[in-house]
């Protein structure tokens, strides 16, 4: 097993889940309607749970404790993609589109990882897939409804998609781990996952009356620790309490 490549992959998975979980939790109390507020918050919690499980796998490979990984690292130590870092700006269209693009990518990835040669990851992926299934069902419904709603609705969704798509392509930023992971049968190459993902999201976006910009240039950097300023701000807010006394017992 290529240990460092597996560790790199697990950090990407864990950090993506943690940061989108935190971003989505920022809607708690603010989502458009009460029922959706509960559903959205619940899914944000799910993501935190997924992050914890990935961090536990990392810990089993000799990395620090999950709490340390989540609350005691700086932005440059994170390997999440740029898409999950972007601020919500109280823009429901953007957050709905982002969540859909992200969950669709996770679904594709988890399906592949269910067959992973690294058994602990394969086992975990199979477990997480069922929860993802609902996430995607939820996102699809919202994206299609908002896209089909009114001209104003469609335009807002189109604008959100145009903005989000290049960052979404960044979810599949190639890394040095690609080849060793693919050759060991642990995880397919990012470009392969990306094309599977693009085929998965296309029909939904089409149904919603939205156009994908085929010439979108991917925004990379997240997988090597280069992040938008928004991540540092997010971490400051998320880690504040922990940092007061890292040795405290929770």
């Amino acid at each position: 097993m290529n240990r460092s490549a597996v560790i790199d992959l697990l950090y990407r998975l864990a950090d993506d889940a943690l940061i989108i979980g935190h971003r989505d939790s920022e809607w708690t109390g603010l989502a458009p309607i009460l029922e959706e507020d509960i559903a959205f918050s619940s899914m944000a919690q799910d993501e935190m749970g997924h992050a914890l499980m990935y961090y536990q796998l990392l810990h089993e490979l000799g990395e620090p404790e999950p709490d340390t990984l989540a609350f005691n690292r700086r932005a440059r130590d994170f390997k999440c993609c740029g898409l999950v870092c972007l601020p919500n700006k109280r823009d429901w269209a953007f957050c709905t589109v982002r969540k859909f693009l992200f969950d669709a990518a996770e679904s594709v990835r988890l399906a592949a990882l269910s067959e992973s040669a690294y058994a602990p990851l394969a086992q975990l992926a199979r477990k997480l897939r069922s929860e993802k299934k609902y996430h995607l069902m939820h996102d699809r419904a919202w994206v299609v409804k908002l896209g089909e709603s009114t001209e104003d609705g469609r335009q807002r969704m189109q604008k959100a998609l145009d903005f989000a798509y290049p960052h979404a392509l960044g979810m599949f930023e190639p890394t040095e781990s690609d080849e060793p992971l693919a050759q060991a049968g642990i995880c397919p190459r990012e470009r392969e996952l990306c094309s599977q993902w693009a085929s998965a999201v296309a029909p939904v976006l089409k149904k919603a009356g939205l156009r994908v910009n085929e010439n979108a240039r991917p925004v990379y950097g997240g997988r090597v620790g280069r992040h938008p300023e928004a991540l540092a701000e997010l971490l400051e807010s998320m880690q504040m309490v922990y940092q007061i006394d890292p040795s405290a017992n929770w």
């Binding site: 309607i33 009460l34 029922e35 959706e36 507020d37 509960i38 559903a39 619940s42 899914m43 609902y134 069902m137 939820h138 419904a141 919202w142 409804k145």
Partner: protein, 127 residues
């Protein structure tokens, strides 16, 4: 948060396949698909659930509580009660037709069964 102008859907959940769907509450939603999506997190977050129904509240035609007296039993109707027909659910489920035949026999030995039934703390429905 202001109340939405969306219609109300009543939510029914089923904890185990084959069990009845139980009414658990309601949600506001623009349509049935969305009602199901939000109902899942409202009502299946903590309890076991294998199936959810959402039904437009306006599809339900109900009696009035003012008319509740029409359900009262004025004369002795104990002969209609089902407690003499108790058969363990599992048996009825697995042996559908046989179980129904037994019920006929149960009726014949009503007294013995009735004693058993009253001593039995588990409430089981007749099928």
């Amino acid at each position: 948060m202001t109340d939405s102008q969306w219609p109300v859907f009543e939510v029914f959940h089923q904890q185990v396949r084959g069990e009845p769907h139980i009414h658990v509450g309601s949600v506001h939603a623009p349509d049935a698909e969305m009602a199901l999506v939000v109902a899942k997190e409202q009502y299946a977050r903590r309890q076991a659930c294998v199936n959810l129904w959402v039904v437009p509240a306006e599809a339900i035609y109900a009696s009035n509580y003012e008319d509740a007296d029409m359900f009262e039993h004025v004369t002795d109707k104990s002969y209609r009660e089902s407690w003499g027909y108790k058969t363990p659910k599992t048996i009825s489920r697995h042996e559908g037709t046989k179980a129904r035949r037994h019920e006929g026999e149960d009726q014949a030995s009503g007294d013995a069964i009735r004693q058993q039934a009253t001593g039995n703390s588990q409430r089981e429905e007749a099928t």
